[in-house]
């Protein structure tokens, strides 16, 4: 059974994203929201961890836009979704793990 993980902390400040990626199974999804979206920036250590992870990784576009991070700064392998995509991901997975 698969899990949607949400991460809302900057990976430059907290280890939530690192720990989440290490605990996610291959059929899980990880969605970066709020300050978590800083983890989507290409060329960072977080982006390397995402590239190495088995889970599918998403980022919430409105939170990127709010923070001035344009979508061309988003690392390869990270899909940008809207609130509708967030809802769809929640519905598609058996459980949601909201990392705090």
């Amino acid at each position: 059974m698969s899990i949607l993980h949400t991460v809302n902390k900057s990976p430059f400040q907290k280890n939530d994203l690192t720990s989440c990626l290490a605990h996610a199974n291959d059929d899980d999804a990880v969605l970066m929201i709020e300050d978590g979206v800083y983890g989507a920036i290409k060329g960072t250590q977080a982006a390397s961890q995402i590239a190495a992870a088995g889970a599918t990784v998403f980022v919430l576009g409105v939170d990127l836009a709010a923070r001035g991070i344009s979508e061309d700064k988003v690392a390869d392998g990270v899909s940008v979704v809207g609130y509708d995509g967030f809802v769809k991901l929640a519905a598609e997975h058996h459980a949601v793990n909201s990392w705090l």
């Binding site: 059974m1 698969s2 899990i3 280890n15 939530d16 720990s19 290490a22 605990h23 996610a24 199974n25 899980d28 929640a90 519905a91 997975h93 058996h94 459980a95 949601v96 793990n97 909201s98 990392w99 705090l100």
Partner: protein
């Protein structure tokens, strides 16, 4: 979330995932409160201790000098509420210079085995914990 989550009455697997040290923030104490409240609802409850969450279970906690209640003895009561599965991640212990010997001795009485006293703490690897997580219906992180 799948349809079976909307059914009433059946037992679901609840996982409370603890990732924070006990006294710097209120998260750990609040998580324990939630577990004790949730235990009243006869669900299949597990706890996981990951990252700094493993510090919640160290033995010999003495908070007399900081004016905060030492809530670690409350973990010893979990067995009486049928909360008997405390998964502690080995990697998190090792990264912090701890071993299982540094943790409280937490036990429960197994009613299916003539009330034999058994350990509640289950040391698991990160990979083993991932498998346990995949089995859960509800996960709450603190």
């Amino acid at each position: 979330m799948s349809e079976d989550m909307e059914d009433g009455g059946d037992i679901k697997k609840f996982m409370y995932m603890n990732r924070k040290a006990p006294y710097g923030t209120i998260y750990a104490l609040e998580a324990l409160e939630v577990v004790l409240i949730g235990a009243a609802f006869d669900q299949d409850v597990s706890l996981a201790f990951v990252d700094d969450g493993v510090f919640q279970l160290t033995k010999g906690q003495d908070t007399a000098g900081i004016g905060i209640k030492n809530f670690s003895p409350a973990f010893k009561a979990l067995g009486d509420y049928d909360v008997t599965k405390l998964y502690v991640e080995k990697e998190s212990l090792e990264e912090r210079g701890l071993t299982a010997d540094d943790l409280m001795d937490l036990v429960y009485e197994d009613e299916d085995d003539d009330w034999a006293e058994k350990p509640s703490i289950r040391l698991v690897s990160r990979d083993e914990l991932k498998t346990v997580l995949a089995e859960q219906d509800v996960i709450m992180s603190f």
